[in-house]
């Protein structure tokens, strides 16, 4: 393998999801103000409490400045130069009303929407720009008391649940991007799994940014009531454009006593071209709270897209014996930047957390792991194990690790392991000398590197993630 060809080829391959759907859209004019927030809320016929919450968030946001501590660089974002709402023009009631153009889009993306996908056994909520276009399997889930719908619908049908839990993990004052999201979020997914119910299928949301000059601000709220179990997956893509688009989502997970939530992300937003023009700024706040004893929250993420990724899926381990997990694969190539990691906040006794982070950098990509392990005084016998491994491909990429550890309880046990390695010429040659092509050899090595993370993904998505990774690194060796 020649390193120069590695870098050049890794840089030159194409993004395959970059098409635009020609569809009539209702898009707000650019700019952000109280009026815009009121318009969004009115458009969605929201209850008053929601509008008040949004306005409080906006007022707080106006007083904040953008955080600058992350290991990423970008020109200033003009928040008045983007639109905060965009939706397909036709109002939708069910699948049969979905614009065929939109269905074709999701088909192209391989997202199962129609009934024929019933076999896939995955319930999907699809968010196209700002609104949720379709949710499958709703009836089957409803028979178990499971609510899986768009956020807008949840506000209409279950306002009391939304009101009880919204902002209880990520308050509207949490951080700059979370406040922005709280003010203008347009849709997202809502899940409620009642006491003792084990959700029989994977729930999935697929996010797609289509319109130009729009930001996507979705909000996901998942509640697992006592003893409930749910596994949820989100995927995302966007068209190729030469402008940067902002995606500032918020995800809140609440696991009550004995409940468990598994949240998996396969993020493949448009990363920009090889010079770094265009691409999505993925500034996302994700946090879960193990609110009751023995609760369990697990985050798994495979991040291959976006120009810049800034996200730290975290767990607040409040209940005694609760467990938090974070498994991450982040790939940066061309001039992509990622600053990602997690926070594990140990509050309850005997709380346990595991962090496995795998960063892969190629081209001029920059990849940072940033993690906080915090053990509060009451968290007797808390335990954490953190492992951060970086794999470098080529000579011009970078990997950083920023572990923060704060322990205020002497019985806590915290372990941190880190490694950085270059993709081995020896390994590549060894596999090639057994008849494997250069690409197969590279895929095998990279998949091996990521195995500990992939094994935590639901089976069919693990296969998807491996494919995505191989597409991402296609042509990466000469």
């Amino acid at each position: 393998m020649n390193e120069n060809t590695t870098v050049r080829d890794a840089v030159e391959q194409e993004y395959r999801w970059g098409f635009v759907t020609p569809i009539e859209q209702d898009t707000f004019s650019k700019g952000l103000s109280e009026e815009v927030v009121r318009m969004i809320s009115a458009k969605k016929q929201e209850p008053d409490f929601m509008l008040e919450w949004r306005l409080a968030a906006l007022r707080h946001w106006l007083k904040q400045t953008e955080p600058n501590w992350a290991s990423v660089h970008h020109p200033p974002i003009d928040y008045q130069d983007m639109s905060y709402f965009s939706a397909p023009k036709k109002a939708l009631k069910d699948l049969s009303e979905v614009d065929p153009e939109l269905l074709r889009t999701y088909e192209k993306l391989g997202i199962p929407l129609a009934e024929r996908e019933a076999l896939a056994g995955v319930a999907v909520d699809a968010v196209f720009d700002s609104v949720s276009v379709a949710t499958t399997f709703k009836d089957k889930l409803a028979s178990l008391g499971i609510i899986f719908c768009s956020f807008s619908e949840a506000l209409r049908e279950h306002p009391e649940l939304v009101r009880q839990y919204l902002g209880s993990v990520v308050p509207h004052t949490d951080n700059f991007f979370a406040s922005l999201n709280s003010a203008v979020f347009s849709d997202g997914s809502f899940v409620y799994v009642p006491k003792g119910v084990r959700c029989p299928m994977e729930l999935s949301t697929y996010f797609r940014i289509n319109a130009r000059s729009t930001g996507q601000f979705e909000r996901t709220l998942i509640i697992a009531d006592e003893g409930a179990h749910v596994s949820y997956l989100e995927g995302c893509t966007a068209p190729m454009r030469d402008e940067n688009q902002l995606h500032a989502a918020v995800v809140e997970l609440i696991a009550l006593k004995d409940a468990s939530i598994k949240y998996s992300t396969v993020q493949n937003w448009y990363p920009g071209d090889k010079q770094g023009r265009g691409g999505i700024y993925n500034f996302v706040t994700k946090r879960g709270e193990c609110r009751g004893d023995n609760a369990h929250i697990s985050w798994t993420q495979v991040e291959t897209g976006s120009a810049i990724t800034w996200k730290y899926p975290s767990c607040i381990l409040r209940g005694d014996n609760s467990v938090g997990e974070f498994y991450s694969v982040a790939v940066t190539r061309n001039v992509q930047q990622a600053d990602t990691g997690t926070k594990m906040i140990h509050i309850g006794k005997n709380t346990r957390s595991t962090v496995i982070s795998k960063g892969i950098s190629a081209g001029h990509g920059s990849n940072a792991y940033r993690g906080l392990i915090k053990v509060l005084p009451g968290a007797d016998h808390a335990r954490n194990y953190t492992q951060c491994d970086s794999l470098l491909m080529g000579a011009e990429c970078a990997a950083h690790t920023f572990p923060y550890i704060e322990v205020r309880n002497p019985t806590a046990q915290v372990e941190h392991e880190a490694s950085t390695g270059k993709i081995g010429e020896d390994q590549l040659f060894y596999l090639k000398s057994r008849g494997l092509s250069g690409e197969d050899a590279l895929n095998m090595i990279v998949n091996g590197f990521c195995k500990e993370v992939f094994k935590n993904l639901p089976m069919e998505f693990a296969v998807e993630a491996q494919k995505l990774l191989s597409v991402s690194l296609e042509g990466a060796i000469g």
């Binding site: 040659f429 000398s433 197969d440």
Partner: protein, 259 residues
């Protein structure tokens, strides 16, 4: 089978091999012996197509093909196999997955159907048994945490499964105790076949007690300075490599080794 003609190889601009001539016919076992730094491993790696081992002169014909224009994976698929002196660890990749991918890459190239998991396992388990390896080895990451002996036996396992036309063993005997050596030698002997050639690269004569070569060549300072039968290996064992230097003063290197 393999016809090496006036092969010159440089590594990072430094000439290592200065005109190697070697001719292996099907069914033959050749041993290449020589002191450390004589260029034995360079020969092995250049034949396998390792990048950075630049052929500056000469030609290599392998079963009618111009070996030197072929990528490492093509050489492997055509039936060239190198058992590494230092087998490489590949974390997270199960040995069984690696073995199966390798075999199927070769089978596809040969126009044969890929083996499914059941047939493959049946094949591999039989070989494991013969090499005295535990089945658990299949599910561990390739060479990761293997003992030195396990690594070498894993190379032989790959060789037996891939059933190459030409097997090159680069110091497979080093670091093996006598029992492991016997097992490895038995594996190699099982592979002996009129359709196959084997090139043993070794520092010691010990391996040749168990795998009897048809021809022995002595490599020194990048040249083949002696060729003969098995008795040459015994002379080396008895007298070391020292006598070659004195002898060399009177011979033109490589002259007597032309096939």
């Amino acid at each position: 089978m393999l016809y090496i003609k006036n092969l010159h190889v440089a590594v990072e601009g430094k000439p290592i091999l200065h005109g190697i001539d070697l001719y292996l016919r099907g069914g033959e076992v050749h041993a290449i012996m020589g002191p450390n730094g004589s260029g034995k491993s360079t020969l092995a790696l250049a034949l396998a197509g390792r990048e950075g081992y630049d052929v500056t002169e000469g030609s290599v014909n392998f079963m009618g093909l111009n070996l030197l224009t072929m990528a490492p994976e093509q050489r492997a698929r055509e039936g060239l196999f190198l058992a590494f002196q230092y087998p490489v660890e590949v974390p997270g990749v199960a040995n069984v997955q690696f073995l199966k991918s390798a075999l199927n890459a070769r089978r596809v190239h040969q126009g044969l159907p890929e083996l499914d998991a059941m047939d493959f396992l049946a094949l591999v388990k039989e070989q494991l048994l013969q090499l005295g390896l535990d089945e658990s080895l299949l599910y561990r990451s390739v060479n990761e945490g293997f003992s030195g002996g396990e690594k070498k036996r894993n190379e032989i396992l790959q060789m037996l499964i891939l059933a190459p036309a030409l097997a090159i063993l680069d110091e497979t005997d080093s670091g093996l105790d006598i029992d492991a050596l016997k097992i490895v030698a038995a594996g190699v002997n099982r592979l002996r076949d009129p359709q196959r050639a084997i090139l043993l690269i070794t520092h010691y004569q010990r391996l040749l007690d168990y795998i009897r070569p048809d021809h022995v060549h002595v490599l020194d300072h990048g040249r083949i300075v002696r060729s003969g039968g098995p008795e040459l290996a015994q002379k080396l064992e008895a007298q070391g490599y020292g006598w070659l230097d004195d002898d060399l003063q009177q011979t033109i290197p490589g002259e007597e080794t032309r096939p």
